[in-house]
Symmetry: C2
Subunit: 449 residues, 2 copies
Amino acid sequence: MALVTPRTLSGFKDRLPKEALAKTHLLNKVSNVFMNFGFVPIETPHLEYADVLVKQGSDEIQKELYRFKDHGERDVALRFDLTVPLARFVSQYKNEVDLPFKRFAIGSVFRGERAQRGRYREFTQCDFDFIGSNSISCDAEILQVIYASLVGLGIDEFTIWLNHRGILNGICEYCGIIEEKDINTALRIIDKLDKIQIEGVRAELHKELQLDSTRIEQLLKYTSIKQQGDSESFFESIAYMADFNESIKKGLDDLKALHKVLSSLQMDRDTYRINFSIARGLGYYTGIVYETTLNALKSIGSVCSGGRYDNLTRTFSKDKMSGVGASIGIDRLLAALEELGLLTKKATSARALIVCMDSTYFGYAHLLAESFRQSKVPIEVYPEISKLKKQFAYANTKGHEFVIVIGESEFSSKTLTLKNMTSGMQIERISFLKALTLIREDREEEIRI
Amino acid sequence: MALVTPRTLSGFKDRLPKEALAKTHLLNKVSNVFMNFGFVPIETPHLEYADVLVKQGSDEIQKELYRFKDHGERDVALRFDLTVPLARFVSQYKNEVDLPFKRFAIGSVFRGERAQRGRYREFTQCDFDFIGSNSISCDAEILQVIYASLVGLGIDEFTIWLNHRGILNGICEYCGIIEEKDINTALRIIDKLDKIQIEGVRAELHKELQLDSTRIEQLLKYTSIKQQGDSESFFESIAYMADFNESIKKGLDDLKALHKVLSSLQMDRDTYRINFSIARGLGYYTGIVYETTLNALKSIGSVCSGGRYDNLTRTFSKDKMSGVGASIGIDRLLAALEELGLLTKKATSARALIVCMDSTYFGYAHLLAESFRQSKVPIEVYPEISKLKKQFAYANTKGHEFVIVIGESEFSSKTLTLKNMTSGMQIERISFLKALTLIREDREEEIRI
């Protein structure tokens, strides 16, 4: 029988233990934060009727859809995000799901994009949404979840950039850009500032929207406003803009109401700032929107973005359903945590490895391991009898903090020999309880994720 | 624009919050057990080259494969289990993965089976395997993981039924059944005992293998042997079988070595028993095999099965790679836990709900919520100002244990009113710390999953 070459599809990725373990810890941490705020998981299939998915997606996403005929000749496709399935879900179970409804979902989505560095055709999305209420309390809660997630991961220097879609619309309107498609064009061009520089933006605005230079400068002036100091003085400094039009007034009122709730909290006020250049998924959002950058790693872009939307379920129902939600960029965050040194990449989940000099000691080794686990020390037993050198090399490669050796004298005296793999210190023939104390004491610094 | 009917594909399933939350808790518990034993997660794509998947699957699985051409006209398919991707993984990364290698994987797999009750075309598999060592220490550890998982889920009455593929082969050989395909036929027929009764088994053995009645009775006698009392007397009672042939002798030696390790542990000896009728995935396993039944719910079948195999990577490599592993039947276990009353099905992850009588109290409400969360009490703030009746109904439906009411007097005195939703008792205008104490005290019984 001819052998098959083991290989993955182009654009698809395996995660080896170090990376998978780090991702597991990260997802556990953020899931716990979600659940602390009363967000519940839901689960929808990876495969859906194609017509459920295609209506809401952009043309680009439709081209990238993994779409095929199933065994029953149904037109099916792999989901390309978690938002369309959520919309389908709340429309389908509107009688079972009590509003307001807070859900999170973590799962794989699929897009047949052109393969490029750092972009995968299957990737993990991590979304949380608060649906069925347009109270500012929901917006405030989503921001608290972002804050608690990042703080929980050990990141202390980050900025949540806030804006409001109404303010962007109002600025455009004030500058004579009225049609929705023109507004979207203008915002798309402004969003390219980093790529094409200010001169490029000016040129494109002129070319695509026939704006004169006065309006271009107005547009650039207002969309470049950023909060520098505290929010009170910022709101004062731009109070005059409320008179431009209703849309800006409504946007500012919402942002003020949000600040009123947030400023009651212990949550650090320096972590959120208003920035009128933040646009986010142009067509979709209708209220407050946000992006989150890490102060020490701004270049990687937003690690968590979201905002308020007006009509989640428009593909499925004439009833409006509004909500607010955000998405954590798992891959980006993992890369950032690694770069910031906040990720301990180990190939084992066990702190210690027990090695035996003879197979007759396996029973005793497993009994010790059982006792360590009952005392919350993750531990494993090396299953082979081999040279100590090989076993220590295994522990070194995988990242065990301790190796416990069971030889004849340890076995007969019901003791163990403990080696600290970091310090190299070895203590011979000590009791289980003594070893437990030493292993526990070693964890002086906070455990990293 | 015409609306799309929100619907799921036949054979695919959504999980609403109650069910998804219970499943999340279950998977968290078992993942923690895996990691306590040093098993690490790996991640492989849902989509693979079709030839990677089809070689190893049975004909039936090939028919059920979700297979299609991707954007690059590659022949691709959705994975139908987690074992073939594991085989591909360890073959592909044989230089990166240090053996012995312990991995777990939890994920969706896809089979286009005929739709039937309780069987889904996408379902969750939960596998853990110990690869690259044939030491009995590995077999012992896999069994300990099964034990720790079930005990951790609150199940105290279960039986792990042990057998050895060598014993089954040896019994067949002793009864004159020598060819591998005949052995598989015989074991497949014996496995149908529950369905076609003893007379049916006799008839089929005669018809398909032309066995005479003496050999049929021999075969039935030896494969029906089950351990009743302790293992020492059981091994004594069947010691004579070691003389039948080498295959039985080797099987018994392995089982004895396993018992020697397991009997050193605190692990309850009544939970594992030898049963010569356990066959498991005929072609695949080569050593010790097991199934796990719940004593109070035998009818639902095995909730965790596995065993030792000899050549995981035969599709990809000429090098042999043996291992031992098991699979937890997540859906079956969830159903069992529910039937046993060990599952608290709630639609919220929060213990308490804060409701405000006026939107000006939202800041205070969120500050309280922030403090509760810092004290490890999951809590949410009801985002709307509405009638108390509606807010209490929300808490009742979702399953909050407490409702905290913030009215004018609570707001001005920086207190809160706490209602216990189980007892109905309400205490007015108490401090945060008093409320925290009451909420903590209420959790007298162990938290169920």
